[in-house]
Symmetry: C2
Subunit: 699 residues, 2 copies
């Protein structure tokens, strides 16, 4: 098999995935929708989401434009050092990365805001069609994200066709990441602003149920689900997916050039394409019985995909005589990803001890809800960290033995393939993930459209499955980002050594903790995810206070809202969430980028090595802590609402609601954004390696 | 100056410090105490503290005995490898370390439980005598801790007098640390169990003021201040102080042996002894005017001590012709310590933006109190991390130029001297720290003894100064622990290389992040402080739930308590806090020790290098976050209680109380215990270096 063959194969599979997405989109669109209220509300939600996305994309286009100019002038080398053509290629690749990411987000929003209403309507006919509508809506996003990733990377590789230069792929990946950083942060702030404000004014102050149309923030909340969880999460996983391929390709290219083959690059494309193929089949066969369990249906299709992937790659490895040890590294990554997902489930599932203990502690007041939730969140970090560490260790040691001369390169390649393996089923993961907000919206629409209790029961069940699966996919995507950035650290060293060879300096063999520059970088790198999270949470905090004020104003000034005779001014709330999110997303994103550049120019490549390591370690720690404790509080509240520990209205319930409110920005704003923050920093380090090498204060 | 001279000098200064402590103790004891209620309550508090300490020490004696046996059998080398005499020396040094630490804690408790009553009584005569009694009571602890440290280390060095073997000093330091780990954890659980339970049942449920004698938990709360903040904090700083000297001495010994001098060892003792001298003078001259500001008095004496230290060491450096670069490293550490203290103040002082913003956010409910407090806590991490990183970087680079042949050793010595410099004024810091709980107790006793509003105003002012200074000293001690453990990492490498030389293997030059064993260790090391904190917080959470239950029982079953006609059963609450604390302190402490041993036997010295680095980085992050956010919530509540944002009884106040309750175990149980956890792990790694070297699964 030649390199062109495999790229053609990848492109074919990507196109199949994209066509499959179009088919699913049309299928969802074809489903009936009769209820007029739902129709109307669904349009308001879609308009709100579109408005937010448009305004966000305008700001991001400006940012991307500035970045592209900076890249053109300085990266990979300042133009005064010559070689401008590489700068042009990198700038264009960067813009391509941002555009594809933005388009994938847009597609997700469009289908999700159609599927929500159709799924609510379908629930009138039973759980089977409702589940299918929701899931197929989600799968459009899944296929679009992964298809676009593979297509983009393959075409880029075909066009640049340069086996020694990684500017194009790193630029592309940085484009995807930098957009994801802001999309995740902005969407996360929007969604939690609306969610918290709706809960506090509706549930807590007025005692009206969730998704009640009398609540002025209710539509903003639904818009938020889409812009935060669909578009934001899609951009995040698109980013991780591209980054894992980028890291693997950078290292593969070095190996290929050294050994004089193209086998390693072929492997990366082959395994990635087979992952997409497995996901397509897995999604195609996702089914639920008439009285089926939606959680089981989602999990089953994940397991089928995993199984298919293992089989496909084993066949390919045998057929094309690839190295089994690399296949092993790939599978280890995948298995560890699934295991991390399952341990996450232990800490967030309401049938397990942690959630029940927190619900019980809530009887003694909200302080205990918070304290016990924080504790379990901290505990949940350990298994995932061990899992990621073991995956990296096994992948490294497996592959280090392949070739004694290139032992380091092979072991780094092993880690990067482990990340590619973990992300191979990402098409399935994104589909499951996007399913969540769609059915969450359906539940709201069913409530507002007065579809009756039977329908509500079905949508509740679908929603609950979405929440359970979401916790697992979140753990999975954090673990995947963890392995990816370890691989990116390898890619960074690779870049540094490529420069060292050019300049005729001795190669570096690593980053020594006992070097004070490395330690200095490590301390600051570790602080960045904390600062980043703080800025995002403060953003939500400030913005929600503004929205609560607006809701109070509407209640006070517009007569008939509380009674349900006048429709509240939904758009005012959407507007506040939009403006606030766009205002608050910039400082958080920029801080991390600027910190990287400062550390790089102060301490050079060694400080950056430490900076990345510190950032990865503390980023994983905080991301896992915040995602899991947030998920736990959410489910503890739901567990109480289901009638336990005094049920709705009890003191435990009040405490549970407070816990959930604290958990909201933890799990949906800060926690999952840290992934992207780590990736962006890792990529920017590789991109600026040459600058840091030449112009640092200390070296 | 010979090595014996300097050790005699150190011993003389230590004895002066201890005599000074005795003088202060007698002075405090001599102060009058007339109020019968206060006398009686003070005795109950003392008895409670003694009972707890006795029970805790019995458990710890058992633990120390087992540890001593293990050391005797396995450390520094298993007995079957020969050289049992070193094992005996290490075991005895270990026991000496535990005993001195325990005695220092005991002395602190004794004087604090006398000074509290005397200070309350003195407040009748004005702020001047009340301040002096509180402060001099605290200084007994300060002098006892630092005097005992210097005396112990000096005598140990004189007795073993072996310039190539560090078993004795490492064993001694490990003894101090392992005791501190449990004393801090146990005391922290005790104090916050009582504090939270008293607040929740008293302030929140009944609406009675703090320190009201009708509250069954009120005495337990006062006992807790002593066992947690006096004995626990004393053990903690004793531990950091010994550890910084141990790290410096291990590296100094290597340098001395290599170069054939004893100059470096002399420097360590010289600078440490001068620090103690400066503290004695600083404490002696601590004064307050009749209407003076106690915060300013405390800060001034710290600044005087700092200034004196700089002058003394400069004179010594000139006089004995020591290297100015090492002096520079020492001063950099000290200055950075003070700067970190000041930035901590920014985040916890109620005259600054963070506290006021959190108080304002509390108007929107407790979730916003928590979210904004968490955010500022996260932000507060950055300046301290930069400070520690810069101190290490400067110290390293300053000293690396001293001798080209021993550049690495010198630079590590620079970092360790930077830690010694930061900890030089620890006598002053401990005095300020122990002052806090004494005047906190005085306030309670004044309230319970009905000393009237004028006296309460004075004790309130003294208490508030204690809280402000406490936040600063806490930042300082975390920063000091940070630098110390970086130096201990150097000491660990030193130990590993000593073994490598013995075995004739190549020395290691550091711990490379790109080595997957190092990375694997780093990920797990980073998770440990989170797990450790979780176990402590869960301990408080569980224990407080038990105590709240007991308080409710007393309210329900014993008539007349609420009216104040019957005295509650104070001892029952003390008993619950004692039993619970002793039960819960074991798992947290053991987990970290066992994790270190497992990682060491799995991944060998490289994994341990990464493990330590990950542990230091995430430990500092979490310790700073929890201490600062806890301090911030405490002061935000007090700021509201002072009449802002609606004052007492408002919604903001209720939210503020919940924030404070969450912050309590953050700042007084988990946060400051992490210091000790990091030190213990670092020391145990050095102690077991030989075992890990020989018997690890991977190498």
């Amino acid at each position: 098999m030649s390199i062109v063959d495999i790229q053609v194969f990848s492109i074919v599979i990507s196109i199949v995935a994209l066509l499959f997405a179009v088919y699913m989109f049309l299928w969802v669109k074809k489903q009936p929708l009769e209820n007029e209220t739902i129709k109307k509300l669904s349009i308001i939600i879609r308009q709100g989401a579109r408005t937010f996305l448009k305004r966000e994309y305008i700001v991001l286009a400006l940012f991307a434009g500035i970045c592209a100019l900076l890249i053109l002038s300085f990266l990979p080398k300042p133009i005064w050092e010559g070689g401008i053509s590489r700068n042009v290629v990198m700038a264009i690749s960067y813009l391509a990365g941002t555009c594809i990411s933005a388009i994938a987000g847009k597609i997700g929003i469009e289908v999700a805001t159609i599927a929500n209403a159709k799924s609510a309507e379908a629930a009138k006919k039973g759980i089977k069609p409702a589940f299918l509508t929701g899931f197929r809506g989600g799968s459009v996003m899944g296929m679009a994200v992964v298809g676009a990733c593979l297509l983009g990377v393959s075409i880029l590789r075909l066009l640049t066709n340069d086996s020694s230069d990684s500017s194009a792929i790193l630029g592309f990946s940085f484009g995807a990441s930098s957009l994801a950083l802001f999309a995740k942060a902005g969407g996360g702030i929007f969604t939690k602003t609306a969610d918290i404000s709706a809960d506090l004014t509706g549930k807590v102050e007025l005692g009206i149920p969730e998704d009640d149309p009398r609540n002025p923030a209710v539509i903003a909340d639904n818009v938020g689900d889409n812009v935060g969880d669909v578009a934001g999460m899609g951009a995040d996983l698109f980013d991780s997916n591209v980054a894992s391929m980028a890291a693997a390709l950078v290292i593969a290219t070095t190996l290929d050039t050294s050994i004089g083959t193209s086998l390693h690059t072929i492997m990366v494309f082959c395994y990635a394409a087979l992952g997409l193929l497995a996901s397509i089949i897995g999604i195609f066969f996702a089914r639920i019985g008439k009285k089926g369990n939606p959680t089981r249906a989602l999990n089953n299709s994940t397991y089928i995909t995993t199984f298919l992937y293992i089989v496909f790659t084993a066949i390919a490895t045998k057929l094309f005589n690839l190295d089994w040890r690399i296949w092993g590294a790939c599978i280890v990554g995948l298995v560890v990803g699934v295991i991390v997902g399952i341990t996450t489930d232990h800490f967030t599932n309401d049938e397990k001890k942690p959630v029940r203990n927190v619900a019980h502690a809530s009887n003694s007041g909200p302080a205990f809800t918070i304290l016990s939730g924080v504790s379990y969140g901290f505990l949940s970090v350990l298994p995932a960290m061990i899992g990621i560490g073991v995956a990296a260790l096994v992948a490294y040691n497996l592959c280090a033995t392949i070739d004694a001369t290139y032992s380091l390169e092979y072991s780094l390649f092993g880690i990067s393939m482990s990340a590619v393996g973990m992300l191979s089923i990402v098409g399935m993961i994104v589909s499951n993930d996007a399913y969540g907000p769609i059915v969450d919206n359906s539940r709201g629409l069913a409530e507002m459209g007065n579809l009756g209790d039977d329908v509500l029961k079905i949508t509740d069940e679908l929603d609950s499955a979405g929440n359970t699966v979401k916790a697992i996919t979140k753990g999975f995507s954090i673990a995947a980002a963890g392995l990816t950035v370890i691989a990116l650290l390898g890619a960074f060293m690779n870049e540094v050594n490529a420069i060292a060879v050019q300049k005729g300096i001795e190669k570096i063999t690593g980053f020594d903790i006992m070097n004070p520059l490395v330690f200095f970088g490590m301390l600051i790198g570790a602080a960045i995810p904390a600062v980043f999270s703080a800025l995002l949470i403060l953003g939500v905090d400030k913005n929600a206070q503004r929205m609560v004020k607006e809701i109070h104003r509407q209640f006070n000034e517009i007569p008939g809202i509380k009674e349900g005779t006048t429709q509240p001014e939904y758009d005012k709330c959407i507007d506040i969430a939009t403006k606030g999110a766009i205002k608050e997303l910039i400082p958080a994103g920029l801080t991390s980028i600027i910190a990287t550049i400062i550390v790089g120019f102060v301490g050079g490549v060694h400080a950056i090595g430490g900076f990345l390591a510190g950032n990865i370690v503390s980023g994983l720690l905080l991301a896992l802590f915040m995602s899991n404790s947030g998920g736990l509080w959410d489910n503890a509240k739901k567990y109480i609402e289901a009638g336990n520990e005094g049920g709705k209205g009890s003191n435990a319930h009040k405490a549970g609601v407070i816990g959930d409110t604290v958990g909201d920005p933890f799990k949906d704003t800060a926690g999952p954004s840290i992934n992207t923050q780590i990736t962006v920093i890792s990529l920017i380090s590789s991109l600026c390696a040459s600058l840091f090498f030449s112009y640092a204060l200390f070296k």
